[in-house]
């Protein structure tokens, strides 16, 4: 197996794909949106329960590849309990992890489990899989009910 593949399918990714966290409905949700990647058929719904600016609960539902499922699962795990300011910081980290040309050998540990997404960078065709849940979250907060990876984001 190539190193790139091992970077892409790290244990954390495989684990979150196998046992997705917070994959459930969210009764009483205050925000939600559906995200669709029409190129591969991946679908994810992100549900939020916001109390003031605090993310009291966040869940996702849907189906897709290991990368999109694990990314959604990791997202909910990391964001639960954060306020929106910190949420934005995490979203920026993910964006950087997925698109930056730089390597982050020393800084990676700061990103915690999110660092597991860094392997996606070497697979340009798969970046949209990893960003789907995050874009859907942004749409939910912006009051849009659905987004597509093929819309201009």
């Amino acid at each position: 197996m190539s190193d790139d593949l091992e970077d892409l399918y790290q244990d954390i990714i495989l684990d979150h794909n196998r046992r997705p966290r917070n994959s459930r409905e969210l009764p009483g949700r205050t925000h939600f949106a559906e995200g669709l990647n029409p190129l591969c058929g991946d679908e994810v719904t992100v549900n939020l329960l916001l109390a003031g600016s605090k993310i009291q609960d966040i869940t996702f539902q849907g189906q897709g590849c290991a990368i999109s499922q694990a990314s959604a699962s990791l997202m909910t795990e990391i964001l639960k309990g954060l306020d929106l300011m910190d949420m934005r910081k995490q979203a920026e980290i993910v964006q950087k992890l997925l698109t930056s040309e730089d390597e982050f050998p020393d800084a990676l540990f700061e990103f915690g489990n999110l660092a597991a997404l860094s392997g996606v960078r070497k697979f340009p065709a798969r970046i949209k899989c990893a960003t789907l849940a995050w874009h859907t979250l942004e749409a939910a907060l912006a009051g849009k009910s659905s987004i597509s990876t093929e819309d201009s984001l």
């Binding site: 197996m1 593949l5 892409l8």
Partner: protein, 409 residues
């Protein structure tokens, strides 16, 4: 042209890209239903056109204008012979199958469909044979009806009978399913439609490269196919139509080349095929498609079909033996495509891992979202074969799938 014996190693040598390495592994190209590779004869034809013959068609009185026009019209003759069209003027060049179907839906559809008329398509159609009909239905008030599939991924012909009504105006379906490889009994379906005076369109995008087509024998009113899935260049496709139907259809696009006389008040149009070819056509593409057909015509189609069938059978047998693998291509009569899913592993993950082994397959909904829905899967992995694929490549595919299963175990 005399028929050459089908020599697989020699055929592979004719396709330069097949000897390249992908990620340091020999390329194992099994995405032929998306696009086939090109033989050197086609590549050389494009180079020759642009090096020695390039000019616009139908207008130059100069030498190159004549050469370009000859190349373009010669290609039309070659396609006509390939489809056994009664004449070359019934061959329209388009950008591909999609544009061919859009041309029919837009031109024939708007002239012939009224509110309440019915357009009958099948449950295994590519979006290219669904969306244009929905668009013209929206404009005319016609309705789109769908022939469902049975449990063997074949069209349910009994249900089809009940879907044909006096309002059915056109039956449009694929010769071969791009997602499953199912070969539809085109001739029988067309005969059934003819009895009721229903116009017929055959989407031959997967049919032309694997089965060929005899439009007179099929008796279809329209036949569409793409150059790039038939070993030719991208951006060139074909629409065949019966002469009396094409002659009565209004233009699809307006512009140069398709007119007789233009004033600012009104214009009059040329006959077929020019009326449907506004603007400078894809001249080199047409010449390249002609070269692809010439290449294919060297061989006995029965030998190609026998080779592809053997590969398909071998692939189905090896894949079915893998634990956790579901084969979705299960029609009795199939061509060149195996669609499958692996329990718990998404097709995109399969395709990514296979790619690192040099194996190119397609993962996704294959532009057939309604079909995926009826199969109850969001997506499938699809390996599709061409005349140059080998048994060893099927083995490479199977080993790569086993690696995928190991990684996800």
């Amino acid at each position: 042209m005399p028929t050459l014996p089908f020599d697989l190693q020699k055929v592979r040598g004719d396709f330069p890209i097949l000897s390249t390495l992908v990620r340091r592994k020999p390329l194992c190209y099994l995405d032929n239903a998306a696009s086939t590779q090109k033989p050197k004869a086609v590549i050389d034809r494009l180079v020759k056109f642009y090096s020695e013959e390039n000019a616009n068609v139908h207008r130059g009185v100069h030498h190159l204008g004549e050469l370009a026009t000859d190349a373009y019209l010669g290609a039309r003759e070659t396609v006509a012979k390939f489809l056994n069209s009664p004449s070359a003027k019934q061959i329209l060049f388009t950008r591909g199958t999609t544009e061919s179907i859009n041309l029919v839906a837009s031109s024939w559809g708007r002239a012939n469909l009224k509110e309440g008329d019915e357009i009958l398509i099948s449950g295994m159609e590519h979006h290219a044979n669904i969306v244009p009909w929905q668009m013209v239905a929206g404009k005319t008030g016609a309705v789109v009806k769908v022939i469902p599939l049975n449990h063997s991924a074949e069209l349910d012909l009994e249900l089809m009978d009940s879907l044909i009504t006096p309002r059915t105006k056109i039956l449009a379906f694929c010769h071969v399913s791009n997602s499953l490889g199912t070969i539809n009994p085109a001739k029988a379906l067309i005969a059934k439609a003819k009895e009721r005076g229903i116009t017929t369109l055959l989407d031959g995008a997967q049919g032309a490269p694997h089965l060929g087509a005899d439009v007179q024998d099929l008796d279809c009113d329209f036949y569409a196919f793409s150059g790039h899935k038939t070993y030719g260049p991208t951006g060139i496709g074909v629409l065949y139509g019966k002469a009396e139907i094409l002659e009565n259809m209004p233009p699809y696009q307006g512009g140069g080349d398709m007119i007789q006389r233009v004033t600012f008040e009104k214009s009059s149009f040329k006959g077929i095929p020019e009326r449907f070819e506004a603007g400078t056509p894809n001249i080199a593409g047409a010449a390249g498609l002609g070269a692809a057909i010439d290449y294919l015509s060297q061989f006995d189609p029965k030998e190609i079909h026998a080779h592809e069938s053997k590969l398909l059978e071998y692939a189905a047998e090896r894949l079915s033996a893998l634990p956790g693998l579901t084969l979705h291509s299960k029609a009795k009569n199939r061509a060149a495509v195996v669609s499958f899913t692996l329990g718990g592993i998404h097709p995109h993950d399969i395709a990514t891992i296979l790619d690192r082994e040099g194996v190119a397959i397609r993962a996704g909904n294959h532009c057939t979202q309604p079909l995926m829905k009826s199969l109850g899967v969001p997506a499938t992995a699809r390996a599709s074969f061409a005349l140059y694929n080998t048994k060893e490549e099927v083995d490479t595919l199977v080993s790569a799938i086993i690696k995928t299963q190991d990684l996800f175990a």
